[in-house]
């Protein structure tokens, strides 16, 4: 006998932020069809920013009035404190990214082309590069992706998580290929990201299938229950978990699953790189944190050694390969691989202080990344952004303010005290050490020193070298980029000097089961 399908209870107030973003994205698509081309950009910018602000208000209202630690959609979407914190983080970082995307002053017409299908190098392509039209569908695409990320890190069952993974990924693949300059690199990035991402999704799905075979359910809590004290095949559980994690670690660009990161970061339009570097990282690590703690927390003795090794590899790979880079965007990409390793230390603490540390790390790293890519987008020569490190020589002399801000952001990435980067490293390492993974923490400290070398090298270039004669110029940023850089820099400073309030927010509760 089958039970009739019934609609589960939905906590509309709780999921309102996601619904608002998704709704705004749908409206954005409609606007593309009905609003005249000349007005689309302005309408889309207003709509996107408004949607994010309204979603944030809805989130705030729910935090104050709503129940704590519930889930909705029959337990598929968790509304626990970490999920809501991650939503807030994603909305704030999304706001910064939309500001960068919206800028049309730095690159006349914006960083995105109107027609990605035109073959690079042709006459049409050259003509398009100089036209100041842009693909305004970028805005709804970014909103879709943002909503996918929000669902991704609050999904409490693996199927919802998979759907969210695709919702967040597909727009990203597309937007990577839209860079106005260096079209070939951009298209290469899009193809690479798409193909590797598709593989990673396949791994994820295989993992889900095996885990379903093991636990007879895709709910994280059921998997945890099934793993506790049964005589089912462990092979199925750990094979499934391994495949699932490969998919997740790929998204979080954790080494050795990071190979897409440098190419995609370099080729994608810089605002999109900022979006990926900040928001995708948050979503992926939110999901990793939830999956490891909720579904596999009870069996952590069996797998944690392997994850320690992964974290160690990620730190060292990122730090060492970062040294050899000659391109700013690739350098930050490798630095993000190293940071992914540090983040895993917090995740692998597998306790409340680990959650707090990871959440704090994510928000502070995200803001620093957005501001850093904002600065990268301003250093330009005749052919667009000048991301080659050698052309940054002497920047401190030509534009002291910008060089000062970038120095501060680099010091934050290196983890120097009085920046948010230091506090996040500190809380992550403290959580790791109290959970007893001291060797990994020591490795992290050494990797931090190695990574500091390439951040320092940029500072050396900017301040201690003479400017190149035909070096790039620094474009005066428009209102939007200025706002994004200011926001990121101020948060980096604030969380470095006065981190307690954010630590309190991040540490208010654990995952709902």
């Amino acid at each position: 006998m089958t039970t009739p399908a019934s609609l589960p209870d939905i906590d509309y107030a709780g999921v309102a932020p996601v619904l608002i973003i998704l709704g705004a994205a749908c409206i954005g698509v409609l606007l593309e069809a009905f609003v005249p081309r000349s007005q689309r950009w302005a309408v889309q910018v207003v709509l996107s920013l408004l949607a994010i602000v309204v979603a944030a208000i809805a989130l705030g209202a729910y935090l104050y009035t709503g129940p704590q630690n519930t889930s909705t959609f029959a337990g598929s979407i968790a509304l626990d404190r970490p999920a809501l914190f991650l939503w807030g983080t994603l909305l704030a970082l999304g706001l910064g990214s939309i500001l960068l995307i919206a800028d049309r002053v730095v690159e006349p017409g914006g960083a995105f082309v109107a027609q990605a299908g035109i073959r690079p190098g042709t006459m049409l392509d050259k003509e398009q590069a100089n036209r100041s039209s842009m693909q305004t569908e970028v805005f709804p695409l970014a909103l879709f992706s943002l909503a996918g990320m929000m669902i991704f890190c609050s999904a409490n069952d693996l199927l919802s998580m998979f759907v969210a993974l695709e919702v967040l990924s597909l727009p990203l693949y597309l937007m990577c290929g839209l860079a106005r300059r260096r079209r070939l690199l951009s298209q290469e990035a899009a193809v690479k990201y798409f193909l590797l991402g598709a593989f990673a999704s396949a791994f994820f799905l295989y993992g889900v299938a095996l885990l379903y075979g093991y636990a007879n359910s895709v709910k994280l809590a059921d998997i945890a229950n099934a793993a506790g004290g049964t005589n089912r095949s462990d092979a199925l559980l750990f094979l499934g978990m391994g495949l699932l994690l490969i998919g997740l670690l790929f998204k979080g660009s954790v080494g050795p699953f990071h190979t897409w990161t440098p190419d995609v970061y370099q080729g994608a339009p810089t605002p999109m790189t900022a979006f990926m570097g900040a928001c995708t990282k948050v979503a992926a690590f939110g999901a990793i944190l939830r999956v490891l703690m909720v579904a596999f927390g009870s069996t952590h003795w069996e797998w944690q050694t392997i994850m320690w090794v992964v974290a160690g590899i990620s730190m060292l790979l990122g730090a060492i390969l970062g040294i050899t880079q000659t391109d700013v965007k690739r350098m930050i990409a490798y630095s993000s691989v190293a940071h992914a390793g540090f983040l895993l230390v917090g995740v692998l603490a597998l306790d409340g202080s680990g959650i707090r540390a990871t959440l704090f790390y994510l928000i502070s790293y995200g803001f620093t990344t957005i501001a850093a890519f904002g600065v990268v987008s301003l250093v330009r020569d005749g052919t667009g952004e000048s991301t080659s490190l050698s052309s940054w020589a002497g920047l401190g002399k030509r534009s002291p303010l910008l060089a000062g801000i970038f120095t501060f952001l680099l010091l934050a990435l290196a983890g120097i005290p009085l920046t948010s980067g230091f506090v996040s490293k500190f809380v992550v390492f403290a959580a790791g050490m109290s959970a007893g993974i001291t060797p990994l923490v020591v490795l992290g400290l050494i990797a931090s020193t190695i990574a500091a070398f390439f951040y320092l090298r940029v500072i050396v270039l900017m301040y201690f070298s003479e400017p190149a004669a035909d070096g790039p110029t620094v474009t005066l940023p428009g209102m939007y980029t200025t706002a994004a850089i200011t926001l990121g820099t101020l948060v980096t400073l604030l969380l470095g000097v006065y981190p307690s309030f954010m630590l309190d927010w991040a540490g208010t509760g654990g995952f709902v089961v």
Partner: protein
């Protein structure tokens, strides 16, 4: 909000904030003359405050005086807490003495194009504020924060204002110290985590932390000790972690070099006394032979390499390595006499090495070179400079009657009963010191006038050379400003050489307190 323990806390607050504010003001001043005078004025005010602090510090009073604290990150019980004991107090005073001298000393420093004195002096004042903070803080976390932050002004001082190979030296300096600092952070987190597991509430408060962690089992203490040791051994520096120092000292401008060997490096030994020994007494005792071995190797190796240097600034760096060996020997011999000797040695080393480096800087400014082979027979050309150089040399080799003698004597005297073998080896260093100092003086100042830097000054080899000829060719003797820069140092060299008692009285109780944690009774 602010909790303070005494009515004199404001002195410490002012000592911390005035150079910080001064650094900002000086950085914003466009008029170079005004910037110079403001910086100098602020450093003098700071000195006056430090003198008041010396006056109101009670040698036999509480362990930590003039304390105050403000909560910073309550989640980890981190407070912005400051307070001084006798050791910290003399260090702070020493910084306040050296700052006006180095600012005066680099008044006419020739800076590269595009660099300004306001930037230079602003960084120096920032260094002053941060180093005072490092010595005065009583929170282990804040100590780490300041320990790392103070690298940044020094990094820019070397990298922007230094010699030809400054980029390499600046990065090397930064990375070495940063690595040490991070390992210390690991040790500090370890101590926090141990306190949390032992009492349920972690803390970074120095007092509370030492009382908890000092009872930890030996293997925990050893790991924490090694974390802190990495930072302090690099900073001090002990052989074989010293290689950044000669590069940094050579490339740094003289003022930064004095702050580097005179102040920054002292943080290493200070850290042994303030953190390593009280936090992890058992590990300190167990691992003392390791430190002592490195210290004695440092004394001998530093002395031999100093004798072999061809560059005077690198010479000073190796001399410092040798002296830090003596200081570490005194600390880890664990006797009251040797401990007091080491602390006063820290002060005296700053004075004597600072003076030596400033004199070398004056010489290098004339000859545009710090290579020893570029000079010769200078005593005939610049007799006053030669005299100053000679006195700086004598205090560096610890001649009786100069300030360093009493310290070195106390270290050896105190260390001999507990560590005779190490002490005997270290004593060889005294002989080597006489060798390298006198040989250097002989090569630079005696004999005929010679050397590339002096080409064209005399009429050829053997030609009579008079001071007025040198002055006409831009190689004159000490000017008025230079005499005023060296005068206070000279007074300190002679004064502390004959009457060191006030210094000994102030540091004695703090050393006794430190050593009581390893079971040594002071007098």
């Amino acid at each position: 909000m602010i909790q303070s323990s005494s009515q004199h806390s404001w002195l410490l607050i002012a000592l911390l904030l005035i150079p910080l504010a001064g650094s900002l003001i000086v950085a914003l001043l466009r008029d170079q003359r005004a910037a110079k005078f403001t910086a100098f004025g602020i450093s003098l005010v700071e000195f006056a405050l430090a003198a008041c602090m010396w006056g109101s510090f009670h040698g036999d009073g509480a362990r930590i005086q003039m304390a105050f604290s403000v909560p910073w990150i309550p989640d980890f019980d981190i407070n912005i807490a400051f307070g001084i004991d006798g050791i910290a107090m003399v260090m702070v005073l020493m910084i306040a003495v050296l700052s006006p001298i180095v600012i005066g000393g680099s008044w006419t420093e020739k800076l590269a194009e595009g660099r300004s004195h306001s930037g230079f002096f602003s960084l120096l004042l920032l260094m002053e504020a941060l180093t005072i903070g490092v010595f005065a803080t009583t929170d282990v976390f804040v100590f780490y924060v300041l320990f790392e932050i103070m690298l940044i002004p020094m990094y820019f001082l070397i990298g922007r204002f230094g010699g030809n190979n400054r980029q390499y030296a600046a990065v090397k300096f930064f990375l070495y110290s940063f690595l040490g600092g991070l390992l210390m952070l690991g040790g500090a987190i370890g101590a926090y985590v141990y306190a949390e597991s032992a009492t349920g509430q972690g803390t970074f408060d120095w007092m509370k932390l030492t009382s908890i962690v000092s009872h930890a089992p030996l293997h925990v203490q050893v790991w924490i000790f090694l974390g802190f040791f990495a930072a302090f051994a690099i900073k001090a520096p002990l052989v074989p972690l010293h290689t950044w120092l000669p590069d940094a000292t050579r490339e740094a401008p003289v003022a930064a070099g004095v702050m580097l060997v005179g102040v920054l490096d002292k943080v290493g030994v200070f850290g042994f006394l303030r953190y390593s020994i009280p936090l992890t007494p058992e590990a300190s005792k167990t691992l003392a032979p390791l430190v002592l071995t490195l210290a004695v190797i440092g004394v001998l190796y530093g002395s031999l390499l100093a004798a072999g240097q061809s560059d005077m600034k690198r010479f000073i760096a190796y001399v410092s390595v040798a002296h830090f060996g003596f200081i570490a020997l005194g600390v880890f011999a664990f006797t009251q006499q040797s401990g007091v000797g080491s602390v006063t040695y820290m002060v005296n080393h700053s004075i004597s090495t600072g003076m030596f480096l400033i004199v070398i800087g004056m010489l290098a400014a004339r000859g545009k070179s710090a290579r020893i082979a570029d000079y010769g027979g200078l005593a005939k050309v610049t007799p006053l400079l030669a005299g100053a150089f000679f006195i700086a040399g004598l205090t560096t080799l610890s001649l009786p009657g100069t300030n360093s003698f009493i310290s070195e004597f106390l270290v050896l005297l105190g260390a001999y009963p507990s560590q005779p073998a190490f002490t005997i080896f270290a004593a060889v260093g005294m002989v080597l010191a006489a060798l390298y100092v006198l040989w250097l003086y002989q090569r630079v100042f005696t004999g005929e006038v010679r050397g590339d830097a002096l080409v064209g000054l005399s009429g050829g080899p053997g030609a009579a050379m008079r001071p007025d000829v040198g002055a006409r060719k831009g190689f004159g003797d000490l000017g008025i400003r230079e005499r005023w820069v060296l005068a206070p140092l000279l007074v300190l060299v002679i004064g502390l050489g004959f009457y060191p008692q006030p210094l000994l009285d102030k540091v004695g109780p703090a050393v006794a307190d430190t050593l009581s944690s390893v079971g040594v009774q002071g007098k």
